[in-house]
Symmetry: C2
């Protein structure tokens, strides 16, 4: 037996609600380093600090939609690899009040974007993850560390490197990307064997030629789909 008060739906207009924002980590590899897009804040709190692009979630938008919009506004591109990373909800992460942020991470080839041409690119900049200043806005340093760790784990058991490379690439380019993200040197022969045995990549008929060097075989990923393990 239930009383009436138990079966009535809870009135959501009467509860105190947190604000929800969406934050996007945009990673790429440039100059042998993992880089991330940061914005110099023009607004309080943390004015003048570097921060990840993000915005309050519009009440009618889906989370993925909101992340795509932020990504487009800051980089000018659509249709790139984007996945939900983690939701950060420390009650003290925002001095304005309770703000929970759903973080996404995106990967793209460095040359595919010109930040200065993005719709809302003012103050946006690529910054190497290893050179971050100690004082980032909010908990963004923690979010970046979490994202870099996810990338490190995922590159070992997925074809996620695909999002960082052109369609055809040399094995040495792929290895370099793994080395940068894993922050370690890899053995050439073992790396090649592992990539081929995991059926991640396959050789194409094309070669890369540079001057008098021996031409290098170009490879491609076996599937255009991003196959990843959670």
């Amino acid at each position: 037996m239930y009383t009436n008060s138990e079966i009535k739906p809870r009135d959501l207009s009467k509860i105190e609600k947190p604000a929800v924002s969406v934050t996007v980590l945009i990673f790429s590899i440039n100059d042998g380093r993992l880089e991330v897009v940061l914005i110099n804040r023009v607004r309080e709190p943390f004015v003048g600090f570097w921060s990840l692009p993000g915005d309050i979630l519009p009440i009618k938008n889906d989370l993925d939609e909101a992340a795509k919009k932020i990504l487009f506004d800051k980089t000018g591109i659509k249709n790139i690899y984007l996945e939900q990373l983690y939701t950060f909800g420390d009650p003290k992460r925002d001095p304005r009040g309770r703000v929970i942020t759903v973080a996404y991470f995106a990967l793209l080839p460095y040359n595919s974007v010109d930040l200065s041409k993005a719709p809302d690119a003012l103050h946006a900049k690529w910054i190497p993850v290893k050179n971050l200043s100690t004082n980032l806005a909010f908990d963004h340093k923690k979010i970046i560390a979490y994202g870099a760790e996810r990338l490190k784990n995922k590159i070992e058991y997925s074809n996620i490197a695909r999002a960082l490379l052109p369609e055809k690439f040399r094995l040495s380019e792929l290895q370099k990307i793994h080395e940068i993200i894993l922050n370690t040197k890899l053995d050439k022969r073992n790396f090649r064997k592992r990539m081929l045995s995991m059926k991640l990549i396959e050789p194409t008929k094309d070669f890369y030629r540079l001057g008098n060097h021996r031409p290098a075989r170009l490879y491609k990923f076996s599937t255009k789909k991003l196959v990843t393990f959670n």
Copy 2:
């Protein structure tokens, strides 16, 4: 140059906010099947439907804290494996209005909990994931499918099975758990080799004896820490 209106912090009290809830998937293995704790709803909406345990996030609580509280209220246990799974934010997922839910998933050995003795266990029940009725409340069927998929991926590259087993176990028990979660038969010799080469488990000096059967070596996980790849 920025105008004053740009640098003032955004007033969070003036924006329309979604409600945020926390939902917990509690998985275990019983009788050769993956099971999940569900609750029969006594409250509208979806009164009488099965649903995952969950609650509105208290405005002052951390997300992890809120998930732990739900877990304790429904199962009576603390200190078990719990990780954030994914945040579901489809604008139409709750008929009461916009509710974003941060889903967690927990794993435990089946015999470690007596649902009837939990603080708030009324109507809670273990239900096999394969026998779910078509009509679950909200998007909970989708959340359960996502959680089962995460478990399937994670068991291949982590020692997550540890959370489902007693401290010492037979290799056959570990293999059975992998087979149930992966929904496939595994070769005994390859499985053993793989587990040992990944340094996930190590033999103990103890044996399991049953009647006239040949005693079976008991193993343990090499580390008490849950080592997982994101």
